[in-house]
């Protein structure tokens, strides 16, 4: 058998694996974490009584579930409001981050001046500014939280995108230079596609941050029906299962955002290493 035929066979096998993996593998991949999740829930449910943990310190999953159903109307209103803040901030922060990244990647002087600042700013606990944005925009105004979220996601998005735009295989640049490509062509055909995986990595971080920013931002003030306010006020009047139910919703929101980014990445970057083999 020729080497060619061998390679062809290998490729066909890889493709079959990919096709099979697309759904079957993904579902199979979801089984182990699901088992762990259920096991933890069961353990939680039955060990609390045995350990004598007070109900108000940590309610059982069944109690939280009951609160979720009971508080449906309040919670869905809260989650819509808070998700809007998170998404608004996410959109503004990502947009500005990407724009800043293109500017810094384009001009070397800008990069040398801005990138260290951005990397340093990345480690600032921006949530600490929440009381300040409340003063600026008013605590009832969702823009207060959007500003916090935008600021939180701006730096990781910018820093990652700059990396993606600049950390390009030097040989690829030589190749483009050899066919006298313009800077614009190099940007479009090499730098931008190279930056996409970096951008998606940043987006995954950013979605998680956005929910944290919005909910924690609301701890410092916001309308009564916001998710963060709901959590603090229910805890204040000792309705802990309701507070827990809202926390569960906040977690679900973060995970939901993350999964959306993951799905978009799968579709947008079918060529990327992380998407090559669905099954191991």
């Amino acid at each position: 058998m020729s080497a060619e035929a061998l390679v062809e066979r290998r490729r066909a096998a890889a493709e079959r694996r990919l096709a099979a993996g697309r759904w079957g593998g993904r579902l199979r991949g979801a089984v182990p974490p699901l088992v762990v999740f259920i096991a933890v829930m069961v353990l939680w449910e039955f060990s609390l009584a045995a350990l004598g943990v007070q109900q108000f310190l940590l309610p059982r999953p069944s109690v939280i579930l009951a609160a979720l159903i009971d508080q449906q109307a309040n919670l869905s209103r809260a989650v819509v409001y808070t998700a809007t803040e998170a998404l608004g901030g996410l959109a503004i922060g990502c947009l500005l981050g990407v724009v800043a990244a293109f500017a810094t990647a384009r001009w070397l002087t800008a990069r040398e001046a801005l990138l260290p600042v951005a990397i340093a700013a990345n480690s600032i606990p921006i949530i600490a500014f929440a009381p300040i944005t409340n003063i600026w925009f008013g605590s009832e105004n969702p823009v207060s939280r959007m500003a916090i979220v935008a600021l939180m996601v701006f730096f990781p998005v910018m820093v990652n995108t700059v990396r993606g735009l600049t950390q390009v295989d030097p040989a690829a640049l030589e190749l483009m230079q050899a066919c006298a490509a313009s800077d614009w062509q190099i940007l479009r055909k090499v730098r931008v596609p190279n930056a996409l995986p970096y951008l998606f990595t940043a987006l995954k971080v950013a979605t998680t941050l956005s929910v944290i920013g919005a909910v924690v931002g609301e701890y410092f003030g916001g309308p009564r029906y916001a998710l963060g306010i709901y959590i603090t006020s229910e805890a204040y009047v000792f309705r802990y299962p309701n507070a827990w139910a809202a926390i569960v919703i906040a977690c679900a929101l973060g995970i939901g955002f993350y999964l959306v980014v993951l799905a978009v990445e799968r579709v947008a970057l079918p060529w990327h290493v992380s998407n090559r083999q669905a099954s191991s």
Binding site: A3, V7, E8, R11, A14, E15, D169, A171, A172, E174, L175, M176, Q177, A178, C179, A180, A181, Q185, K189, V190, P193, L196, L269, W271, H272, R276
Partner: protein
């Protein structure tokens, strides 16, 4: 500088036309006490249809010389002309294709779209791009793989895609920097045979960097032997093996003689202390001495 009249395949090509003309070229990296002179006093003329290999110890400036010809970096001294123009003008006029040791394929593009990349840069129409990529992929025998992604291919196949891409716009000159250096011996020999086929069919002038003596002798019409740093041309050996080169070529007695001649030339650089290039006529006599 008088060029030896080429024998072998070039004789079929009408009046000698200089595709590459290098006069007194040198390249120094850095400044001051830390400066590294990678190349010094390079004189080399390459005619249309030739297959010229550059061989020499690692770090002797082979890649640098290829980059000078391609105007990917400027020379610090001397002049380099490609197709009768300064190298920079030739690069801007897209007069050469280049292949590196790594295939440098874009992961996000299918094989066919990788081949089309330079054509897109040059503003070819979509139909023209597709026509040419199909043609080039059948030239390198990868027509069935045009919709696959590079990572689904073996190393040898990826390098063939890189060759197809370099040839897609019919450049008169093909620059290759150790294109098969990362391949195993078997694949490399097969790729050598295929490259010979491509060279014959396209009539492209090829400048080929290698550190493999057998590869240089098998492929080339001339082998340029370079000395260690600073890189200089120490000998140019005409390879008068019959064309077309086939698997049997590697069994010819003359083939072994030429391999020995190149090896000796590479070894002598030490004894001669990297002495300047001997003139072409003397080199030819030396090389013929092995006949």
């Amino acid at each position: 500088m008088s060029e030896p009249i080429a024998n072998g395949p070039q004789s079929a090509i009408p009046p000698a036309q200089h595709v590459v003309e290098i006069v007194g070229a040198g390249r120094t990296f850095g400044r001051g006490p830390g400066a590294v002179t990678a190349l010094e006093g390079i004189d080399l003329t390459i005619q249309a249809g030739e297959f010229v290999s550059l061989i020499g110890p690692s770090g002797c400036g082979k890649s640098t010389l290829l980059r000078l010809i391609g105007d990917l970096i400027p020379a610090t001294t001397g002049s380099i002309r490609v197709n009768g123009k300064p190298a920079a003008a030739a690069r801007r006029g897209r007069e050469y294709g280049i292949v590196f040791q790594a295939p440098v394929l874009m992961d996000w593009r299918t094989v066919e779209r990788n081949v089309e990349l330079p054509l897109e840069v040059m503003g070819y129409t979509r139909e023209e791009r597709q026509r040419r990529s199909a043609e080039m992929l059948s030239l390198v025998e990868l027509a069935d793989f045009r919709r696959t992604y590079p990572w689904q291919l073996s190393g040898g196949m990826q390098q063939r895609v890189a060759i197809a891409r370099a040839l897609a716009f019919d450049p008169k000159l093909l620059l290759m920097d150790e294109p098969f250096g990362a391949l195993d011996e078997m694949t490399r020999e097969r790729m050598n045979l295929e490259l010979m086929g491509i060279w014959r069919r396209t009539g492209t002038t090829i400048v080929f960097v290698t550190h493999s003596i057998p590869e240089a002798v098998f492929l080339s019409s001339r082998v340029v032997v370079m000395s260690a740093r600073p890189g200089r041309v120490i000998r140019i050996i005409d390879v008068d093996l019959p064309q077309p080169r086939t698997a049997e070529t590697r069994e010819l007695e003359r083939y072994f003689e030429l391999v020995t001649a190149v090896r000796e030339a590479l070894r002598q650089r030490g004894d001669e202390g990297g002495a300047g290039a001997l003139d072409d006529a003397a080199l030819r006599i030396r090389a013929e001495g092995y006949a």
